[in-house]
Symmetry: C2
Subunit: 415 residues, 2 copies
Amino acid sequence: MKCEIISVGDELLIGQTINTNASWLGEQLNNLGFTMAHGLVISDQKLDIINALSVAEKRSDIVIITGGLGPTNDDITKHTLTEYFNTTLELDKAIEQNIIDYFNNRNLPILQTNKDQALLPKSCQVLPNSRGSASGMWFEKSGVIFVSLPGVPYEMKGIMNDHVFTKLLDLKGEGSVVVNRTVRTHGMGESFLAEVVKSWENDLLKDDLKLAYLPSPGIVKLRLSIIGKDKTSSEAKLDYYISELNKLIPDQIYGYGNATMEGEVGKLLIAKNQTLSTAESCTGGNVSKMLTSISGSSSFFNGGIISYSNQSKSVLLDVYEKYIDINGAVSKQVVEQMAANVRLKFNSDFGISTSGIAGPNGGTDEKPVGTVWIAVANKDKVISKKLNLGYNRERNIHVSSLSVLNLLRLELLKN
Amino acid sequence: MKCEIISVGDELLIGQTINTNASWLGEQLNNLGFTMAHGLVISDQKLDIINALSVAEKRSDIVIITGGLGPTNDDITKHTLTEYFNTTLELDKAIEQNIIDYFNNRNLPILQTNKDQALLPKSCQVLPNSRGSASGMWFEKSGVIFVSLPGVPYEMKGIMNDHVFTKLLDLKGEGSVVVNRTVRTHGMGESFLAEVVKSWENDLLKDDLKLAYLPSPGIVKLRLSIIGKDKTSSEAKLDYYISELNKLIPDQIYGYGNATMEGEVGKLLIAKNQTLSTAESCTGGNVSKMLTSISGSSSFFNGGIISYSNQSKSVLLDVYEKYIDINGAVSKQVVEQMAANVRLKFNSDFGISTSGIAGPNGGTDEKPVGTVWIAVANKDKVISKKLNLGYNRERNIHVSSLSVLNLLRLELLKN
């Protein structure tokens, strides 16, 4: 089935707002097996909207229209649709009550223009919006589906997830429920990962699940999706395949959905009532910054030392000068002492450290740019690991930070 | 003049790539006084491209087409345009030499498909691409201008800036050269800033310069633009107005164009041969992270202490415990000692510090969330400042970091 997306809004045409709605809709619908054929951006003008609708009606099976449903005068999509589908507006009492409740719950004053958002076209099927006051609308004309949604991304996505995807899949006749899961991995490149999970992936595909690899620096997300008749059995299938995946790459999976590495580490530290301090050289404060981005991080994070100069490594972290002279600041010996000593300095249960050549300058034949040592210390031991990263400074800092947090995460899971 | 943007590429339709090209083009063209009327996203298919061109020809004066100019088989825009404009491809020797030079300069192997990118439609005016191997093309048909550009944003923007904007303004007959300048400010909100520069802004508009306020957390960028017949006199006008602005808000302007606060601070430290260390509490490493994102920052940044817990403030930074007990960790006394002592600990010329309540929890009536103290110390003195920020943790960390770097910047400029 051919899909067309019509985005209404001058702010999109003049680049004030980037059209992320169209990208999101395109990605989701493509993932569900619909054919994305056309995207349009038009201004908030009646004639442009009507022209776009009549062109879409001739060439597409499904037309999603976003934007122009707000309460102000420049929002004309609803009135234009009412005219295009030759119907009239009527008050939807249930929706009116929803809107009143929505404003009351937030202690916001309610205006007549807000209540007027409950005036909806007679011939449409109303798609309730639990996140705002503009309802979605579902029209059918000459076998073509038209869905009108608000332009606020959070509200638009809510209505799509709550109502539209399921209805569209019903139409397509391939089932009624789509369930997605995202598995977040660190420590294995996309192609290597694909090799390791090969037979699992084959079984998955045979079982009509879909898999997408979504790589970003230091992270490969695996998105599994399934379209089925029944949510419970679909979720059970996903649970099964994710548990099988966990057997293959137990150390690489650090979280699910929107989890972050620092968030997962923070949760483990809190659960185990452990504290942490950091000694950062090449990451320059980034590991600490990630940890302290978490609200409530003061319950597990005592602080850290950014020992950027060699002098500061010896003066503030008591790293033996001879270690720096003989092995260099980027070495197993130095990074292990950094982790062990920062733990003591801050009186923490764990100390973690990084030392490396972030680049683009400073590399040698023996230690090229991207050479990074990371370490984790507790009262019993110090473990360390060498990373061989690339030439991009920002990426090296980011991946080193993720790596040392993952090393800590794996240690926390052992205890 | 009505503009239409046609973006060619399946990756845009299925949301793999967000269409930032269309946003950028819309913003730039709108800024130059063109009317943005339509945006289209279509797939790499001949019939779709031809349909889009013929619709655009009827309703628009200027049509910008991006994408589909690469060397591989799925890139069909050039061949489709050749057909649409009823012309043939011929070898452009100068462009061929450019392509050969481009690959040779980068030590890349050159394939026949790369050289074939010098085969260009006879009837078009070629727009050379100094950043890649796909040339831009300028066609005219029935009074409508069609411009075809590569989809790689960096190359597309390069060709627009090098050739297209000037040619379009010539057509419009309002002058020939557009010059933009961006002034970056920190420390004054958008509306307050507008009040302070009011009469300057009025003069500016009378002189046919345009001004846009572009606010983001902690930063307001002012974009000045002028369309004139002559680049030299336009630039002189901009120079004049920017120097006048500098008299009004000398402390707020920290840089121009793509400058960053940390980059400007780094340049000043290097120029004055001064070193720096940081003592961070509420910013949790973010100030250090910003500074060390600069390649070569080890020449001025010695390191820092993230004294997140009260204990670490007294043990590692020698802050008097009685100061913490009496005044609290978020106080002038504590933040000044942090800055002074971290300077000594790292043997640096300057020490900077932050201590505050980033939120969302931890506020009191006396010190609500968003209360932040910042300080700068050198061998002669310590200065400090209290900030009253908002309730968003991420934003508070970001704005506090910018603020302490700006306080340091102003001190560096005094010496």
